[in-house]
Symmetry: C2
Subunit: 231 residues, 2 copies
């Protein structure tokens, strides 16, 4: 069934945005009487019937709804330096949203190769991924934040660091019995030693993701899979 994103409270009759209306009417050629699934991105997934198919203001009538209180028992926040090639960061956004993530913060690090992002474009990747996967919650994409500011505001968490594997513990051991999980993932050139000790001073644990040297976005997807897979 086609899925529609409608980021507002879901009343019994809805009028869709011009963008969603056009997509349903022109691209998918939805007609009156057809059924669609409406997702508001904050836990409500509703079945609806199209009562007016119009390229600018398609109207729906809600037939039934399901409300999810939260995504999971665990809340996962990944703060990651966006990659130089933005496609790779978008790949992380898509995959992690499909698999399951709650908060994403683009991180500005000492060795960041990308210092600017386009939140509107990234937001579209997230919306498209919840439509694809049926995830009832849209991950919250926060604004680009300098490393130290982020760490100060989110004390305790894990920092994935390739060097000094002997000082690191495996991810799943580090997050055991935690329900609020924050993981930092560095840029292509990794975190600087100074950033790592700053995080350690603020209660962060150094973690290792194994022997393989994962690309930034692969590390993010890997973390997401493990955190969602352990339950």
């Amino acid at each position: 069934m086609h899925k529609v994103y409608y980021p507002f409270p879901i009343s019994d009759i809805l009028e869709l945005s011009e963008e969603e209306s056009k997509h349903l009417n022109r691209v998918l050629r939805i007609s009156e009487g057809d059924e669609v699934l409406v997702m508001n991105g904050v836990g409500v997934v509703a079945r609806a019937k199209v009562i007016e198919s119009h390229p600018k203001k398609t109207k729906l009538q809600i037939e039934s709804r399901k409300e999810y209180p939260s995504r999971k028992d665990i809340s996962l926040h990944i703060a990651m330096a966006p990659t130089k090639n933005i496609d790779r960061f978008e790949n992380f956004l898509e995959k992690s949203t499909e698999i399951g993530i709650d908060h994403i913060t683009p991180l500005l690090c000492e060795r960041s190769e990308r210092k600017v992002i386009k939140p509107e474009r990234l937001q579209k990747v997230l919306v498209s991924a919840i439509k694809q996967s049926g995830q009832p919650f849209l991950p919250i994409l926060r604004e680009m934040t300098p490393f130290k500011e982020f760490v100060k505001n989110h004390p305790e968490g894990c920092i994935a660091f390739c060097e000094n594997p002997e000082q690191s513990m495996p991810l799943l051991k580090a997050v055991k019995n935690h329900s609020d999980i924050t993981i930092l993932i560095g840029p292509e050139g990794d975190f600087s030693p100074e950033e790592v000790s700053f995080a350690t001073m603020h209660g962060y644990k150094q973690i290792t993701l194994g022997d393989s040297i994962l690309r930034t976005e692969t590390a993010g997807i890997f973390v997401c899979a493990l955190i969602n897979g352990i339950e």
Copy 2:
């Protein structure tokens, strides 16, 4: 350190292929005396010194070598229907190689949207991913195989199927105590019910990857992360 792929036995002096020579000499501007890491893709990773930098036949002298007997205690084989958009399948190849996989079989299913692949191009993605990640073993890319033929030749394994979640078990439960793991992942339109019962008849377990509907390539990456992460 720059990594070189040399898919042959590693003697003390090596002459690299024209492709690798050109890359080192022209792109990376490696000169005599520089050090590189040589990987043969079957477990040997060696440090070498450039003794002649030449655009067609660069020569190396091996200084030390490390030999890995096998990738891990677990051997993972994913048989997956290549996606319509080949970039998505290549994304799976890249990510799964970085994270860790042993065998990959492109699967020809009833609902496959892509029936032809270019193995040479896909092989390059794998080589590039072991260079990136330092994985000492190149995954073995098998030829495109029809679903039933594959299942008959690989009895027992797991089939990831979105429907009938009540008849499925979680991946990690299904593979517990197995060291030889085969997982089937279907095309965009999923496996047909006939394929699922054929696999079940041949000793396959139906598995679920959770409530989220994962894209084909995301399912493959997710499986790979969980299998590598549990150890």
